[in-house]
């Protein structure tokens, strides 16, 4: 962990205009996540944690306030500029893995490099390297249907890491996994964090959240608690 802010959110609100009613999903959120931190965001459904995650993932823009990612203000960028930011600075891990079903593990991992314009040979080499990192060096040519849930999530993690992002964003990464596989994935996250990765993870599972070093709790669109986890 160092002092450089990976994520700096200041006075962010998000209001959805549904015509008749306006829904305030976020009502003024301010926090900073430094590079190398491992943070869990928790909250009941409807608390605004998904909205917060979408904002942090540059999939959406705040109504008010500023969001600086890795030093750049991204609160008002166009869709295509946001896509470029996601490509370069963010790695996504989803509950449902979201792998391309008909595509090999290697090609799945190489996908972000495809959009970055990396030549095929180089992107395959980088993807292979990344798959070895997550312990799937011998499964590169397998399709997702030929892999276990844990292995699929490892492929997804390799895909998230292949473009060397500033921040890894995980949305309920163990939601579809049994407890033993969840432990394996959490061990991998811990290992990545020890290697210096900034990880932000949304979860409603206290046990999973306990793996993080800091937990931000959200309720009714506001941060209600923000502290380091005990016992780590």
């Amino acid at each position: 962990m160092n002092d450089r802010a990976a994520i700096d959110v200041a006075g962010v609100t998000k209001t959805y205009d549904l015509g008749e009613v306006k829904v305030e999903a976020l009502r003024g959120v301010t926090f900073t996540i430094r590079s190398g931190e491992y943070v869990a965001i928790m909250g009941p459904s409807g608390s605004g944690k998904s909205t917060l995650m979408n904002l942090l993932g540059c999939l959406d823009r705040p109504t008010e306030g500023t969001y600086r990612l890795d030093g750049d203000d991204v609160s008002t960028l166009s869709d295509d500029r946001l896509a470029a930011i996601r490509l370069k600075k963010l790695g996504f891990i989803f509950q449902g893995f979201n792998l391309l079903a008909r595509t090999s593990a290697l090609k799945n991992v190489a996908l972000p490099l495809f959009y970055a314009g990396v030549p095929a040979r180089q992107r395959n080499a980088a993807a292979a390297e990344q798959l070895r990192e997550v312990g799937l060096g011998d499964r590169m040519d397998h399709k997702p249907s030929e892999l276990s849930g844990g292995q699929q999530q490892r492929v997804a993690i390799a895909r998230a890491l292949v473009n060397d992002p500033a921040v890894l964003l995980a949305d309920e990464p163990t939601g579809n996994l049994d407890s033993q596989t969840s432990e394996e994935i959490m061990a991998l996250f811990g290992h990545l964090n020890e290697g210096g990765r900034t990880i932000i993870m949304v979860t409603h599972d206290e046990e999973v959240a306990a793996h993080a070093r800091r937990v931000i709790r959200v309720r009714d669109g506001r941060i209600v608690d923000d502290q380091a986890t005990v016992g780590r």
Binding site: N54, D80, A83, A84, R86, R102, T103, P112, Y115
Partner: protein, 400 residues
Amino acid sequence: MSFFSYVAEALSVLGANRVRSILTVLGLIIGVTAVIAIQILGAGMSGAVSGILGQLSDRTFFVVPNQRQADFTRAAIKLDDLKRLRFGVPNVVDAVPGGATVRDARFGHVHRKLGIGAQADERFATSTPIRWGRKIDIDDIAEARHVCVISGEAADKLQITDNPVGGALRVGDRRYTIVGVLAKSKAGILPSLSNLEVSIPYTTYENEYARGRAIIAMRVLLDDTSKLAQTESDTLVWLAKLKHGRAEYQTFDRKSFSQAVDGIFAGVTLVVGLIGAVSLLVAGIGILNIMLVSVAERTREIGLRKAIGATRLQVLLQFFIEALVLSAFGCLVGLVLGVGIGAAVNQIAIVQLSGVVAPIPWLRSIAIATGFATLVTLAFGTYPAWRAATLDPIEALRYE
């Protein structure tokens, strides 16, 4: 990222849904096949007809009574009048009666029914080369000799294998000395229609078969071919004066024959074009439909691609190129099938019939296939691709 990466991606997607992809482009395949095959046949027919017409001399034209007039027989004229045409109309060198009849002919022991026709000298004859002997000449005509020239096809019918020049062809109780045999008109059947089976001097024909009967059809030989149109209209004026306006005639020359034929083919081309447009529309809607299904099915995939950084243009290109690959595949198959079927039918039907081998219009066929693929993709591939490109990634990732 290269175009080929997108094509490879599209191929893997379409390959995964092989049956669906093939069924989708079936309409396009049928449409392109039909249009290309028909236009190859059209080119073959057109080539065959102009090949036959090409054997007609540019220096002659035909005059026949206008079919629409009430009393056809009024249009008949006498041989003496016909002979005066060359003094009455500038640029006319000669005018001869046309006429043909079917008679029993015998060569040796072989009897056949053959068409016997009035022939003028070589200036009026078709360009069919001679195999043995010579063609009818001016002396034959002047003296109304009993001589004949046999076409290559008629020679076959009469089982002539060796040079028969000097021999006799008997028609009824008349004996005609064979002075020449024409070469066979390539392999076909149609060119023989432009040659009489048995040609005899028109003077002889008048004496033997048209005696007392008036001349209906005639052929006119002119000097300067560049004044063809003027000479034709002068001839019509001269004939009208001769008949005191009580009969109408019309003229035909090689050009007006080919114009008539070209007119027919223009009509055929228009119909084929309309069929093509309809099949294009139907095929395009099929592709539009399947692409929309594909976009809907892959909403989550699109969400994921956008989440990991694909721009709208990149997603648009992916689906657009998928539609392009689909229609390009259909048009390629249609091109191959269309050229194959077109060339085969052309070979079986038209070449056999006419002996004229028209070259396959490859360039036009490829242009049709490419045009179809481009049009279908642009018209029906753009909207689904745009739908995919403008999906909201958050919504798309949530899509079940």
